[in-house]
């Protein structure tokens, strides 16, 4: 089926359209929030892998709390931080389903670190998409375990202080240390090139699950223009200039079985 725009020449080819796995709805995300990009990438990957009909999302509590409204497949909405436990419950009784969680840094790295680590340590057949925006977006911009040193937030009004609250937590690296994890990488959503790389990683993560290899996680550096108090463009520049130095992009663990995949798609 070649879709054509109305009143266009036969010579025109459709190059890009919204993926089917995204609902045709208006989202509640702030303008320029890269949560939206992450959603779109996931939907594209699920379309491409043709697994929409057997995918189950476990949404977090965080700005992505309504993700189940935006994805066009079965979805659950977990308690704050408990998505990996809920996903474990689902996957264990639905071994044929493709189950993934989508979690923010407050959700996964703070309140939900136990469930994330244990699901990973058990090698649950799950995929985690981890949105690191260095802040609690939903509740209005409090400090996250991933906030940068010196970052001013509504709960670190004079800037995050290592003495009082420690250093930013590096989840991709920590996850890579667990034997149950087969894929742990960090990507960024700050420009087109990196978005495309992020998509490749998301695809590999889902493939890991489809092959029953174990637990996969993709950490995505993401922007929160609203709570950072920046324009969307400035916010993605901040990701590039401030976050990446603290959160180096890269592959922290890629199981052997996945290595031949890299660069394929």
């Amino acid at each position: 089926m070649v879709m054509l725009a109305p009143n266009q020449q036969q010579t025109e080819k459709l190059i890009y359209e919204r993926p089917h796995s995204l609902e045709e709805v208006y989202t509640h995300y702030c303008p320029g929030c890269t949560h939206g990009i992450a959603h779109r990438l996931i939907a594209e990957v699920i379309d491409e892998l043709d697994i929409q009909e057997r995918t189950i999302l476990v949404a977090p509590v965080g700005c992505a709390v309504f993700a189940y409204n935006y994805f066009a497949f079965d979805s659950a909405e977990a308690a704050h931080g408990r998505a990996p436990a809920m996903a474990t419950g689902i996957k264990r009784v639905n071994p044929d389903s493709i189950v993934f969680t989508y979690q923010g840094d407050g959700d996964l790295a703070s309140i939900g670190i136990a469930e994330a680590i244990h699901a990973a340590s058990r090698g649950e057949q799950l995929t985690v998409i981890f949105i690191n925006n260095a802040i609690y977006g939903m509740t209005g911009g409090q400090m996250a375990p991933t906030s940068l040193l010196g970052q001013v937030t509504t709960s670190s009004p004079t800037g995050r202080d290592a003495q009082a609250t420690g250093q930013p937590m590096r989840i991709a690296e920590m996850m890579a240390g667990l034997p149950g994890v087969v894929y742990s990488v960090r990507r960024s959503l700050h420009d087109a090139r990196h978005v495309i790389q992020a998509k490749q990683a998301i695809k590999t993560a889902f493939e890991a699950q489809m092959q029953g290899l174990g637990f996969s996680i993709v950490e995505l550096l993401s922007s929160c223009p609203t709570n950072w108090g920046m324009s969307p463009a400035d916010a993605v520049h901040w990701v590039r200039d401030e976050m990446i130095p603290v959160y180096p992009l890269g592959d922290y663990k890629v199981a052997e079985a996945l290595q031949n995949k890299r660069g394929r798609n």
């Binding site: 879709m3 725009a5 020449q9 080819k13 190059i15 890009y16 359209e17 890269t34 959603h39 491409e48």
Partner: protein, 92 residues
Amino acid sequence: MAKGRVDIDVDRCKGCELCREACPQNVLALADDLNGKGYRPVILLDPLHDCTGCALCAVVCPDGCITVYRDVPQKTPKKEPVLNGKSLSLAV
């Protein structure tokens, strides 16, 4: 240079301008009027047909507002159209 065109869903657009930032051809602009949600959406302003259909705008749009088309030489009508973002790696 390939010729292209984008369709922007102005009702869903939030005017974040990430697409403008990404567009190498500088053919996207903010509209004059607000949309129903109170945002000034982005529109294609391409009098010289500079858009190449590179899809970079679509790749960065958080709201999935952009559909991209590209002219193809008529002689080889492709049998496998690329849908749903499968084209990303081709497009860039």
